[in-house]
């Protein structure tokens, strides 16, 4: 079973990479692009025999893949 975990900075934390992309887009004629947010995408594959795969992915995301101090995450089942 595959799960997608998207991790990104909280809205109140400045994302300098996203800002640099947005500024470049603006200079290239895409002034209507107001913001770009960079996120990390992880695909976590859990053993098909697992009894509670969603809980495993939740634990992995919250304890390892995201730092709760500055980041948020979302989880989506890919092969449902």
């Amino acid at each position: 079973m595959d799960y997608e975990v998207l991790v990104q900075l909280k809205a109140e934390v400045l994302d300098p990479e996203g800002r640099a992309i947005q500024e470049t887009l603006k200079s290239q004629g895409f002034g209507e692009v107001k913001a770009v947010t960079v996120a990390k995408r992880y695909v976590v594959t859990v053993d098909d025999g697992s009894k509670n795969p969603a809980a495993i992915v939740e634990a992995v995301a919250s304890r390892y893949l995201a730092n709760p101090v500055a980041e948020t995450f979302s989880i989506k089942r890919l092969d449902a």
Partner: protein
């Protein structure tokens, strides 16, 4: 500099080694050379600590800085022992990647993010410490932008836990003096007990004027030893 400033010649310090640590030998050398103490290397897979008076988590790129800087090292087997050492009031000094490991393991508050400039910065910086002393030391990092939410920041300020702040040449807290965009120019913080210190600048690289920089790092190493 000689061991004349040594607070105690009998201290035993452990210096952590993760795959990718690269300042461990400098830390061991500067502690032994300038303070005449015994410093030993500790491998990350150890599950117990020898009898120690203090621990240094040195700089480098532990586990290739994969996931986030310090994030994988924060879950290494030895870190459970280091957390217990901190809980017992042990003195810990985390430098650069060591600071990142301490925040990732939540031994220290806050987080260290990509520099505002998005570039790796390697140069001397000016600092003011919690005793209002002006110091000069080198930094060398890509992820040194300290961030903490407003509640956490006011807690740090009210409890006097901001150990070092970046300043400009005139000693002001300008954006110009802030190399990486850290909130409130923060370069280093203490734990609530003040026994654990994490900082992005490298004191072990500023211990001898013969190397062409300052020797201000000796102040930080000396006070680390005095906290034992």
């Amino acid at each position: 500099m000689t061991s004349a400033i040594s607070p105690a010649g009998t201290l035993r310090i452990g210096v952590m080694q993760f795959p990718g640590s690269n300042c461990d030998a400098d830390c061991i050398d500067s502690l032994q050379r300038h303070f005449g103490i015994k410093a030993i290397a500790l491998w990350h897979q150890e599950k117990s600590l020898p009898k120690l008076d203090g621990i240094v988590i040195p700089g480098g790129f532990s586990f290739g800085d994969y996931l986030r800087s310090g994030a994988l090292a924060a879950h290494a087997p030895i870190m459970n022992e280091i957390k217990m050492f901190a809980d017992r009031g042990g003195s810990i000094l985390g430098i650069c990647n060591g600071f990142q490991i301490l925040v990732e393991s939540q031994i220290l508050p806050g987080v260290l993010l990509r520099n505002l400039s998005r570039t790796f910065i390697c140069r001397d910086v000016n600092l003011i410490d919690d005793k209002k002393r002006k110091l000069k030391m080198p930094i060398a990092h890509g992820e040194g932008r300290y961030w903490i939410d407003e509640v956490g920041l006011s807690r740090l300020e009210q409890s006097g836990l901001i150990a070092f702040r970046y300043v400009d040449e005139a000693g002001g807290f300008s954006a110009n003096g802030n190399p990486n965009g850290s909130v409130a120019n923060i370069a280093g913080v203490f734990s609530e007990s003040k026994k654990v210190l994490g900082l992005m600048p490298h004191p072990e690289r500023a211990t001898d004027v013969l190397m062409g920089g300052s020797a201000d790092g000796l102040v930080i190493l000396k006070e680390f030893l005095e906290r034992m």
